[in-house]
Amino acid sequence: MHPPWIGLAHKADMDGLLDQLDFAPDFVEIPFERAIHDPSSLELATAPPLVVHSASMSLAGCVAPHQILVEQLVDLARRTKTPWIGEHLAFLTAPNRELADNYDGELSAGYTIAPAFNADVLELVVENHARVQDKLPVPVILENPPVYFTMPGTDRDPFQFTYDLCQASGIDLLLDLTHLVISSENLNIDPWQALQTIPLERVVEVHISGLSRRDGVVWDDHNAPAPDIVFELLSLTLKNGSPRAVTLEFNWSPTFPLHLLTEMIDRVQLAVTSAA
């Protein structure tokens, strides 16, 4: 079995970063939204393989992805030859039932939010996924979101929901280990127990990033180093699963220290080597 590729999430001045690093990533993960707004972001000097990641489809939402968005994803998938498309198990759009004026028929925060975890949402996710998967040339894998609060109607934890989703469908996973730690802490769940609940054999890609704590809440933070537990969970994931890729996401700030990024890369490489 081939060890997983190790890649970096695209960030501003990606070529400059790749020049400075003593590490050639196996791939660069390109956000769909960045590729659309700035097509030049696809043209990296070293032309590494690209993996597309999206945060736009709102697959856990009640508004179906717009046709033009799906068409853009199809086009991008073909141009990049991405082996899969990662998407969040989340919603970012909903019908507007609250606000008058200034809003059309839909509300969008422009950012993914964890849904309620129950049977209705599970059915919705499977339906929405099937609808877009039917049009896309590569598999759409779903990423566990960071959970910051519990939506009304929730009747199971997000990890059990992920397990149930895999049981109910053929959808494969993008396991964000930092999101797993964030959700576990915010919901008072043991992260090791959470990882045991995830069907690791269905994990295609793993994400690694940092987190920060504010007023008793743990938040996603791609401008902070990943804590030790993320690497410990990575080792177990690699031992019990066979992901094809591990992506380091430290892409929020151009000033993320190079020595820290190098340390994060070294720790991922060590985990991969140890698991081989």
């Binding site: 009640c62 609250e98 606000l99 950012y111 309620a116 949402v121 704590r213 504010r214 929020w252």
Partner: protein, 266 residues
């Protein structure tokens, strides 16, 4: 499904409309706890923070300090609230100006030590940003004839003062500095100028700072002296001239001391 759509719509409305969230926090009857609604407010700040990540290009030290002091989400929530819930500010220099402008308001409620350090960093990066934005303009052109005894600017430059050494703030551990923050007895004065394409920062003495700040392409030496005297600063004409002559050699100002040599007179 209707309930699901309603709940998702409700959460997004809380995030997008600060007034809506404020009303709901007073008397929500939608199954969301007070804690949930507080958390949703924080999510708005978190989203605004993430959506303005490009500002790290312009304000890396200020944003890092906000993060170090664990004020970043609170700040961006406040910023979004002040902009009618706008989560994603406009691009470019306008965004940096909005962030720095709102920071001045936000800092009023921040502990003194953190406020001091953040003010210095914001002032520094704001000044660097403004000078950088002026870079394309090359020289502040003044088409009027050079008048004897009236200095004028040859380059863009700006002056700031700080209650604590900028060198200490930029080179030190902000968090440690904030914990022991004590303003200096006398403020430090900094001259920001453009050296080729880079912004150069030099600490200058208070008198030099006042003289250079007074150069506006219309005041004469005697007027600058009088203005400084009015501020309580003893400023003889030859002392003002000495500063200007020095900065004539650095290329910052043009000072036609001898009108005949320039072929022009007043």
């Amino acid at each position: 499904m209707s309930s699901l759509a309603d709940d998702q719509s409700y959460v997004l409305a809380c995030i997008l409309d600060p007034d809506f969230l404020a009303r709901e926090r007073e008397s929500s009857q939608r199954g969301f706890s007070a804690g949930d609604l507080q958390r949703i407010g924080q999510i708005r700040g978190f989203i605004a923070k993430v959506k303005n990540n490009p500002a790290w290009e312009e304000l890396p030290r200020t944003l890092q300090a906000l993060s170090d002091y664990e004020l970043d989400i609170q700040f961006f929530d406040s910023l979004a609230g002040a902009n009618d819930g706008t989560l994603h500010l406009t691009l470019g220099s306008s965004r940096a100006r909005q962030i720095l402008g709102h920071l001045q308001v936000f800092l009023a409620d921040v502990p003194k030590g953190q406020r001091g350090i953040l003010s210095v960093l914001a002032s520094h990066e704001g000044t660097v940003h403004l000078l950088g934005a002026e870079r394309a303009a090359q020289v502040p052109k003044d088409a009027s004839p050079l008048r004897a005894g009236v200095p004028r600017r040859l380059q863009h430059y700006r002056l700031t003062s700080s209650p604590v050494s900028l060198e200490l703030v930029l080179g030190g551990d902000n968090a440690a500095l904030a914990n022991g923050f004590q303003p200096d007895v006398l403020p430090h004065h900094y001259l920001y100028s453009l050296l080729d394409e880079l912004v150069r920062v030099d600490e200058v003495d208070p008198f030099t700072a006042l003289v250079l700040a007074s150069v506006d392409n219309s005041r004469s030496i005697s007027q600058i002296s009088s203005q400084l005297e009015n501020l309580g600063v003893k400023a003889r004409g030859e002392e003002v001239e000495a500063v200007l002559e020095f900065h004539n050699t650095t290329g910052l100002v043009e000072y036609p001391r001898n009108p005949t040599a320039n072929g022009e007179g007043s």
